[in-house]
Amino acid sequence: MFFHKKLTHTITLHPSFLGPRMREFVTQRLYEDVKDSCSGRYGYIVAVVAILEIKMGKIIPGIGSAEFDVQYSAILFRPFKNEVMDAVVSTVNHMGFFAKAGPLEIFVSQVLIPADMKFNPHSNPPSYQSEEQKIEVGTLVRVKISGARVDATAIFAIGTIKEDYLGVIE
């Protein structure tokens, strides 16, 4: 699910940056720090929408660097257990398939694929096939997240399509 939230981040600037373009440097540093970041608490920080406030900097005694508390609003992406989302299949193998929903990769194990869908290794590309549906690389699927684990820089999720209204999207 995509969220819009206000967050705060502390930026430390070396004294050489404390000049007329100080605010610009703070903004640049914020974008760099937040780019490609992912945490258990906030999920993926997709983009900074707006910088709301850059508080007055505080000089750290002894070092001379200045610390700024920046308040900004951002788009976050975080999966939740039992959330249903659409995804694109990226890999298919005999253990199941991987589907991507934005930056998130969801693994759907063969155990959580309906029994009537069988893995066909001989089709090109390999796919899961039943009488009515076929899952191969590029197929759009509706997946329910059964669990998520957060690593240092990424979130891994497992999903299921074994319930009503899940599976291939026409």
């Binding site: 819009h4 939740f80 930056p103």
Partner: protein, 140 residues
């Protein structure tokens, strides 16, 4: 051995559950965005940043995703969908899910978003879904 009373840990991952609408304290009251709204925001940023040396991979992957799955093509339609969802007493998460999944029947909606439960009657949900569907069909 005394327990450290001051320490409060965030709840473990397993206790967060979208089906019960338990999103943890960070997201419980957070504003949820429709995929189409994210598309509008990201495209606006992308236009300004296209010439920058590196755009983050998370941004690009998300942009491709929302462009593929966005249901509503223009801002006016998104505003009207939001206006349709506002008077219901559904939580932001449920409203966003309804806008993203575009179910055709109330059974599908209640099955995919179990937290809705009895918050809205079947007829009201059905009429809401039909209105959202016609907005999608007849958008410019």
């Amino acid at each position: 051995m005394s327990k450290n009373k001051g320490l409060s840990r965030p709840p473990p991952e397993e206790s967060l559950d979208a089906a019960k609408l338990e999103l943890g304290e960070e997201f419980q009251d957070a504003e949820c965005l429709l995929i189409s709204e994210v598309k509008v925001l990201l495209e606006a940023q992308y236009d300004g940043r296209k010439d920058d040396k590196e755009i983050s991979s998370v941004f690009m992957k998300t942009l491709e995703y929302v462009q593929k799955f966005s249901r509503y093509t223009n801002r006016d339609t998104i505003k009207e969908v939001r206006a349709l969802l506002k008077p219901t007493n559904l939580e932001p998460f449920e409203c966003a899910q309804l806008g993203n999944l575009c179910c055709s029947e109330y059974e599908e909606a209640k099955s995919l978003i179990p937290s809705i439960g009895d918050k809205i009657s079947d007829e009201d949900l059905d009429s809401l879904l039909k209105q959202m569907d016609s907005l999608k069909k007849y958008q410019g």
